[in-house]
């Protein structure tokens, strides 16, 4: 009911917009036909990429990853409406580096993180972890890999079991995965706690006795106990105060330097992502719109969405008057994304072609990808 109504409101807005724009050179453009052609070309590319061997340098390589959720089903169980939470995302992540994923709420960044960990079964695509494609693995096959990949959740208040002590929370994964012999577990856990800045007498305490920052440290310690290679951090500092945020970010950086973790850092706070990441991916409505190393993304943002996102971050200097790009409207519903380029309804640089043809995700500088019609589309 609510989804339907919201769409109709959006539709009326779109109609008003269309009336104002009038009819242009794409008036007799057959959207459906063109979309089918484009989809075929995209499938062809995906099929070709599928044959390629995985990159030996990358710890994690994601190719054309898709995760669709079914919203409406017929009586026979056939889905008639899909929510494309993650739609054709590809990237590589080297060992020991940090990839920051940014985007507004509802752009699919959390779903991407969870799909990579196989907490959601991907709809299509490949996930290479250390050269093996885990996309099609069954839960039983995934279990030994769980020691290699871990997640830190956003809300430290709801992600810790209230009935077990800190010691119990931290020793459970050690027991399950048989990391150390049973009689050494306590010393091992205490060592991990010390690394995360937790005092040893916290061992017998319960989560409710701690503040948000301390709880987040417990969550980090829990992820560390199994000695993982890849840690997905799903907005680990969003629920924390500024001074505590700095403590947690410094802890994550220190652990990376000493233990060589690879982070997939998901956040909506650009300044935090900039501080911690080596590579940055910008997502909008399920697609990666720009990807590259931190320096090239921040000095030369290509996609208009990235530019708007960067200019929207408030600057803590009262004398700097920023020439801000204010985007109009809200993020559209991912159940009914706009045709063509998904961003064209809010884009300050939108052209006519944008509302009809989706741009190609292409490499413009070495390691710097973007999907936008403002840049040449042909090879």
């Amino acid at each position: 009911m609510s989804i339907k109504k919201q769409e109709s409101y959006q539709e009326t807005l779109d109609k008003e917009e269309a009336k104002r724009e009038g009819v242009g050179e794409y008036a007799d453009f057959n959207d459906a036909e063109e979309a089918a052609k484009e989809q075929a070309a995209r499938d062809q590319r995906a099929l070709e990429d599928r044959q390629l061997p995985p990159d030996p340098d990358a710890l994690l390589e994601v190719r054309h990853l898709k995760k669709y959720f079914s919203l409406k089903k017929t009586v026979t169980g056939k889905t008639t409406l899909w929510l494309r939470a993650v739609d054709d995302v590809s990237f590589k992540l080297k060992a020991g580096e940090t990839l920051g994923i940014v985007g507004e709420s509802g752009c699919g960044k959390t779903t991407l993180g969870r799909t990579i960990l196989k907490l959601h079964q991907p709809t299509d695509g490949q996930i290479f972890f250390e050269g093996q494609d885990i996309a099609k693995y069954k839960p039983a096959q995934m279990r030994p890999l769980r020691t290699q990949m871990q997640i830190i959740f956003q809300d430290p208040y709801s992600s810790l079991p209230p009935r077990s002590t800190v010691g119990g929370i931290l020793s459970e994964p050690v027991k399950v995965h048989k990391i150390v012999p049973n009689d050494e577990i306590k010393d091992y856990v205490l060592k991990i706690m010390e690394q995360c800045g937790l005092r040893d007498y916290y061992y017998e305490r319960y989560p409710h006795e701690f503040s948000g920052g301390q709880r987040q440290r417990i969550c980090i310690a829990r992820a560390l106990t199994v000695n993982p290679k890849l840690v997905v951090c799903d907005e680990p500092v969003s629920a924390l105060d500024v001074s505590i945020q700095a403590q947690i970010i410094n802890l994550l950086k220190k652990l990376q330097n000493t233990m060589g973790f690879t982070y997939l850092f998901i956040s909506h706070d650009l300044s935090v992502v900039k501080h911690i990441s080596d590579q940055i991916g910008v997502m909008y409505l399920g697609s990666m719109v720009e990807f590259g190393d931190k320096k090239s993304i921040f000095t030369n943002p290509l996609h208009p969405y990235t530019q708007a996102l960067f200019s929207a971050v408030p600057n803590p200097n009262p004398d700097v008057k920023m020439n801000r790009i204010v985007l109009k409207g809200d993020i559209p519903s991912p159940a009914n994304p706009p045709k063509g380029c998904k961003f064209h309804t809010r884009c300050p640089r939108a052209m006519e072609i944008c509302s009809h043809i989706a741009p190609v995700y292409k490499e413009y500088e070495p390691g710097h990808f973007a999907a936008c019609h403002c840049y040449p589309q042909e090879d």
Binding site: T12, G213, D241, A246, S271, K274, F298, A308, N315, D319
Partner: protein, 509 residues
């Protein structure tokens, strides 16, 4: 390993109190006495002279002086706001920053007198607000402003009353009525006794096919049959009647709760953090917006209220306000809901808007939209804004004056450029350094160790002592006094107290 004997030794959470049942009962008994007295004081009937005061500086719209707001819990008295004083000058934006638990929200709730009683109480201090209120006659009714003709004589109008419905007929080009053969329920032509089709005059229909009716209006007559006359009153652009206004200074802390209706919504409006929980899910947006006008503007009719609501929705940049007017809160996105909240705050034409974390629940791009809107509105409605947030970036962009709070007290206040370019208190400096910025290249962030203390039974020394890196011997003494460093800049820290400053260069920190 001897783990469990160390409990409480130098721990960060050791300030947690574990009380016995006997102790808790003793505290509760003591608290009940105080709470009952304060609740009674709030419910009392008081003449206006008891809470009308004078402003210290006539340029201010709000003066908060030595405000103490406590929560009387069974664990002890939580001094959430402990001696806060600041001013909001007319037409400016004052920002309050601090981490969660610093008492920012409790300060704003105290100003609105919305503290959850009987536990939450304003115990001490004054909140002086310069209101622009209706002038009342002896009977307590507002005095209307009359409209006169050129010669200064009053104008009298006839009063109209609404009567039954009258159909609106459709006519042809020459103004003659059109007749159609009548159609029965089953679709057949209706015939009269002689077998001729019955004709029916054509009535106007709206776009949905419903017949259009008009309300019949008649002149109101008194018992003798003469028309009732009413003196014409001045009206504003929305058609609302105008009354005589006067400036009065109220001490909000002393006002009885019932008198607060004169200020809330009409004089001081509030924008809350979470727009979904602040809007009622079972009423339409229009219904909730109209309510404000109907409550706060005397003599406003439903049509006037609707016109005003739609105008306000337009003002906050909502496309198609009629559409939003008729929709329910769940149909709108977060940014739209926050715009509706702002529209609702503007409805009563307030002189002071308290924005309590207005953008915290929103995305960066939507936050940019809302901040743009607030900045534009401030100039248009000529109001003042008290902005409460934990985001230093938002404060830097919006505020003229900044108040930094820590554990229920103000530790530093000054103009925005003073606070951001010459921060003095170690906490302010730490807050600014610990926030990663877009143009900084630091490898490791500065961090303040530890947490904000729980303000139950705070000792009488600097609350920041345990977390401070510039801590001195003197910090183990009394709580530092506010020190004035420039005409507008105040700081509460022993590093800047007069005798300490003479000794050494404090800029070393």
């Amino acid at each position: 390993m001897n783990l469990f004997k160390k409990k409480g030794e130098g721990s960060e959470t050791s300030d947690k109190h574990y009380l016995s049942g006997k102790e808790i009962r003793a505290i509760a008994k003591e608290n009940n006495k105080v709470m009952r007295r304060l609740e009674k004081y709030k419910r009392r009937k008081a003449p206006e002279s008891e809470f009308v005061t004078e402003m210290k500086d006539p340029g201010n719209i709000l003066e908060v002086e030595n405000l103490h707001s406590y929560f009387f819990t069974d664990q002890g008295v939580v001094k959430a706001v402990n001696g806060v004083s600041f001013n909001v000058p007319q037409g400016s934006v004052v920002g309050i920053v601090g981490e969660s638990g610093c008492g920012k929200s409790v300060t704003s709730m105290s100003i609105m007198r919305l503290l959850q009683g009987p536990t939450g109480q304003i115990c001490e201090g004054a909140i002086r607000f310069k209101s622009f209120d209706f002038k009342l006659d002896e009977k307590g009714k507002p005095i209307p402003i009359w409209e006169d003709d050129e010669n200064g004589n009053p104008i009298y109008d006839e009063v109209y009353v609404k009567k039954g419905k009258v159909p609106v007929w459709e006519d042809d080009e020459n103004g003659n009525p059109i007749y159609d053969p009548a159609v029965g329920k089953s679709g057949e032509a209706v015939l009269d006794e002689e077998g001729n089709p019955v004709l029916e005059r054509r009535q106007k229909r709206d776009e949905k096919g419903r017949k259009v009716f008009e309300r019949e209006v008649a002149v109101k007559l008194d018992k003798a049959g003469n028309p009732v006359l009413e003196r014409r009153q001045k009206r504003d652009e929305y058609g609302t009647k105008l009354y005589e206004m006067e400036e009065k200074v109220f001490d909000i802390a002393q006002m009885p709760t019932k008198e607060m209706y004169r200020l809330r919504g009409r004089q001081i409006a509030m924008i809350f953090q979470e727009p979904m929980t602040s809007l009622n899910p079972v009423f339409t947006i229009g219904n909730q917006l109209d309510e404000v006008t109907l409550l706060h503007v005397p003599g406003a009719t439903k049509e006037e209220a609707k016109r005003r609501s739609i105008e306000m929705l337009n003002l906050v940049g909502i496309a198609m306000p009629e559409r939003v007017y008729a929709s329910y809160p769940h149909e709108l996105s977060g940014g739209m809901r926050q715009r509706v909240m702002i529209a609702m705050a503007l409805e009563g034409n307030p002189r002071l808007i308290i924005a309590d974390e207005p953008t915290t629940a929103l995305d960066v791009t939507i936050q940019a939209q809302i901040l743009d809107l607030l900045r534009g509105l401030k100039d248009r409605i000529n109001g003042s804004i008290l902005l409460i947030t934990h985001d230093l970036g938002v404060i830097a962009e919006m505020a003229d004056f900044v108040v930094v709070m820590y554990a229920g007290r103000i530790i530093e206040q000054g103009t925005a450029s003073e606070i951001f370019h010459h921060p003095m208190h170690p906490y302010t400096i730490g807050l600014q350094k610990s926030k990663p910025t877009m143009d900084s290249e630091a490898d490791s962030l500065f961090n303040i160790p530890g947490n904000v203390p729980n303000p139950i039974e705070m000792p009488n020394y600097c609350y920041f002592r345990e977390r401070c890196s510039g801590c001195k011997e003197k910090c183990f003494g009394d709580y530092p006094e506010m020190v004035q460093v420039s005409p507008t800049h105040w700081v509460a820290c022993h590093l800047y107290s007069p005798d300490e400053r003479a000794k050494e260069d404090v800029n070393e920190y």
